[in-house]
Symmetry: D2
Subunit: 347 residues, 4 copies
């Protein structure tokens, strides 16, 4: 089968690799739609190390091709969505409710990280019983593919922050994850939602996702502008969706006392806590982080939001490529050409 293989930093290519076979408790799905994640770009650049020879990608939609023994309640041919995170459900961490940390730190993230991923014609799904989520007939592949990672991650920011009805929220950065965080804050019942973004297309998208104001960090002082919009008070919840020092520290600074910074970003280099924004540790602040929730039940719930609540992320798939052209797609997406938000990849 064809698959996008990581050969080393800045080296990827389509290769022929064997179609995987399903062992006990596993399944193989034939991929019908996938996408490229910002994390894949980090891997490509060598910023997040994976082993050469690995098939990349962690956002799979497909049909069941083969079911290993011990996987019950499914049939070959069924359409399924699989989350980016594939917990086993049976380890210390899963049984503590920390499914994303399955087996150890960040251990729930397997596809395109520790095992072969979804940018391929076929994909081996481990712990299939816990991870194959059937797609209802009334929704399309395009409507669900972004649930696997960015929606699950983005929505989780408001969830982990335990956002309360009427809370004011600021969301820092409106890339794919940030846009979903904005939508998630709306879904969880935020009152005022302020997005922080300079790109005009993304600012426009932020408004569609539910932002009432968009603050442009290139044109105004973000902290004082958010304070102004909240009557001097600051927000209850600030969501960091970029992973850099500047947004992290501003997210703390715009919090009102006892506010929560909900962090989704992947940080590198140094990360400093600004003591002014942190009340020197006496402000009853919380800083919470979330790795994309996964597993079939999470996917089922997110699909219910698509079916019943009008959540429609398909417009975020602004461009489409065949799997054969995925290397081109990496460049197109990585260079943010033509206002691209997410690309559809079809084997």
């Amino acid at each position: 089968m064809k698959a996008l293989v990581f050969r080393g930093p800045n080296q990827i290519g389509i290769e022929d690799v064997p179609v995987p076979r399903a062992g006990y408790g596993e399944a193989v799905i034939r991929i019908t739609l996938t996408t490229i994640c910002g994390t894949d770009l980090h891997i490509l650049k060598g910023e997040y190390p994976v082993r050469p020879g690995l098939v990349l990608g962690h956002e799979p939609v497909g049909t069941i091709h083969e079911l290993g023994p011990g996987v019950n309640g499914y049939e070959v041919g069924q359409r399924v969505l699989v989350g980016a995170i594939t917990p086993c459900g049976q380890c210390h961490f899963c049984l503590s409710g920390h499914w994303s940390q399955c087996g150890g730190p960040i251990g729930g993230w397997k596809f395109g990280n520790t095992i072969n991923g979804a940018q391929a014609e076929y994909l081996l799904v481990p712990n299939a019983q816990a991870n194959l989520a059937k797609i209802p007939d009334d929704i399309s592949d395009e409507q669900v593919v972004l649930l696997a990672d960015i929606a699950s991650t983005g929505f989780s920011a408001a969830e982990t922050a335990d956002l309360q009805l009427g809370d004011s929220v600021a969301v820092f950065a409106q890339g794919p994850i940030g846009l979903c965080a904005t939508l998630g804050a709306r879904l969880k019942g935020a009152g005022l939602i302020i997005a922080v973004e300079s790109d005009p297309k993304r600012s426009e998208a932020a408004r569609r996702m539910g932002a009432h104001f968009v603050v442009n960090p290139e044109k105004s002082d973000v902290v004082s502008e958010i304070k102004r919009l909240t009557g001097g008070q600051g927000v209850n919840v600030a969501i960091e969706a970029l992973g850099i020092q500047r947004t992290f520290e501003n997210a703390l600074r715009v919090l009102e006392p006892a506010g929560t910074l909900s962090s989704l970003g992947v940080y590198s280099g140094k990360l400093e806590v600004p003591l002014d924004g942190f009340a020197a540790g006496l402000g009853d602040h919380k800083i919470v982080t979330t790795l994309c929730p996964g597993g079939k039940e999470r996917m089922r719930r997110l699909m219910d939001l698509v079916r019943y609540r009008g959540v429609d992320l398909a417009p975020m798939l602004t461009h489409s490529f065949s799997l054969q052209d995925i290397v081109k797609a990496y460049h197109f997406f990585g260079e943010r050409r033509d206002g691209v938000i997410k690309v559809a990849i079809r084997p």
Copy 2:
């Protein structure tokens, strides 16, 4: 001033009573808009006892007429909303976060219960510092008056149930409180929302509030129909908004294991727990109850939902009466004439 006075069971009338004066920590507001609650009907019928001579009503919108000493940060003439529940903020219960139980059981509910209420030209507000919520200029009296009780109560059902993103919900009865509960489930991020109601106008209103299906208990078996709509599984959260045995027990029966029954109803007579719906106590079920949350901060949050989230309850004010005609309005509302949902009362 004119005020609607309770004289005894089935006896109410407009009387002249003295305008109240603000003592320390108190305020007097001039009422500009109020309404009649289903609870007022119970009081009128003698089903909920209050002392003869009491002014009824607990949903006040007005302007500040007089500020007692010790009330800071307000000015005479400001428009304010006051919640139906007026906690002191300083007793054992308030300091435990149980503001609605201020001072003792149901003690937060004072207006038209233990002290004079809002169906009058002027209203004395106790613990004014904790209870006067300024109304932003950009929203009208009509947009906020229903926040004082029915929205705060209705929304609380999903909040107390700790409704999670994508939860399925059934709301039993779509009177004013139930309609707000439906909207509250939507605001908190429910997936599928099923309303139970037989009245066609209320069923229609339920759909506008966010219900995806309305089950008519006169035409179908509610439990089996809700099971069918949820693929046999039942709902995560069932909201009881009527206060009778039938809806209470059905709300339990439609829960999936570990589901939560969030009860808003006021029960009388007998209340039995159906052991089948309760898994004999082994189902990890929860039954939670909520008395209308109050205080100025609650009102501020709800007004933010009006300002930013498009929550608009004004259409529920289907009819309008002058204070002079309030006795007529009681009958009109009590007999549910002309599809009335709530009545506006204007002194």
Copy 3:
């Protein structure tokens, strides 16, 4: 092997049955210590139906005899504790964190209910990866056997009630579960703990578990006595550990406003909610129920409480029988002879 087989209501006996074999994901353990549960008595009497031919018992301690394929990280011969509840970790309910309801209502309880149980020489453990909890060398079989069910269940009452530091607690009935509930309230940080019990030996045991007062329902009015002991206020948390109408309703009546009734009992017949104790639904009360939490991580945590916190339930094993004599033990335990609390059963 020898096993205690249920033949029909009031008919049990030791029989020779085949030693089970471990299939994929399963394990067989050789039982070294088990016990009889109050639930087993219900089964014996036919009050809780199971299929004739079933081996009873759900509290297993033993050594690993055989490991099926796909079970990793264990070795034959290791000492293990297995919870009464054996979740799969991979179904809708488990992935929602409702492990006790694995697969459906009460579905996590398999041993001696839907599959063969622990009152035997050997036991087949399903989903072994999720359920085999290694016993540290420094603690004995006797110290852990009661963790499988009664400690896990009893402690959960305070946990599910979300008991806060300094909460006052009343625990209704001091049988094995109730005694553990008393200890659990203490472990979770209760202030005042009041036990309700008439049996002198159990009352004495309640004091050892942490009760500061024991109210005898045969000698005083339980509700007024608990009110008196709490300065008229009632308790924050009431735990029901018997499963009858009287204790359920009194547990509600002794709650202060916004208090929580945490129910462990298994109810039969009718169950009525006393509206006086429930403030007609307006008291912000909660009624929560819990089925014994299971899985290897739960067992590991409970064993840590034994190792580090001095939790020692071994004294509750007041009497000991060989497996050969288990029918006698059922009668002895069922008739509460000689102050028996729990019996040790040794194959």
Copy 4:
């Protein structure tokens, strides 16, 4: 009356100041016992700025000397404990449940910070209705004085972390706050508790408070030692009770995935988040902070722990001084002479 007055950095002295008078909603108490806090030392050194002329101290025990109008349910002469934090109960923050942030950042802390404090013969208590906690006759001043700040703060670490039954905990630094944090972890149901401390007397005290192991940071590598003691896994909750970079970063590094760092320290200078200990933001970690919870209900609960649970902090009052000698006591306490933990100050 005599009072300890702050004149400027490193300048304090006993002065004669007028006895305060109780205005509306206020009370004056005659101090019978107070103490000196580590925070007072920071103020003395000019590290935390307060206005010259302020009376210091925030840990008052006394008898009611005068009750202003509007304070109900109390009598002159009653013994009372007042928390270090005195919330109004009626502002935006208090009505959000964030009492310590009353009125704005750190605003609940008034005594010896923004208004005159407790190191004096008399003390004016604002919002007396919310802050006077009657002391039961059966407990002494010495048993309750440390509840006002260090116990309330120390215990809150485990509470804010939402410590679960059987969680493993590490507590960094065993000064007065850290010792209370160790005890708090024990009270909330921790399994294994590891203290980090080099001072032998404090290490010994830590064991009495509930620590199972004490790791000496001068003799071993704290992170690897804690990992070793937890079987390589790390702890569920790490409590920072010192306020420096080293302990903050080590507290993060000893967490297992999805663990919580509960911070009590007051930080100065720079505070950096170690990305290794933070899994670059992907570890589902939480960092939570708490300012001492106050108000009369908090004090009541803590006194119940003294009455019923054997919490006895009186032994931490290792030395005693008269108010007249308080300047000497500041030096004695500041220089940690003679193994002092806390000093009793008696007017």
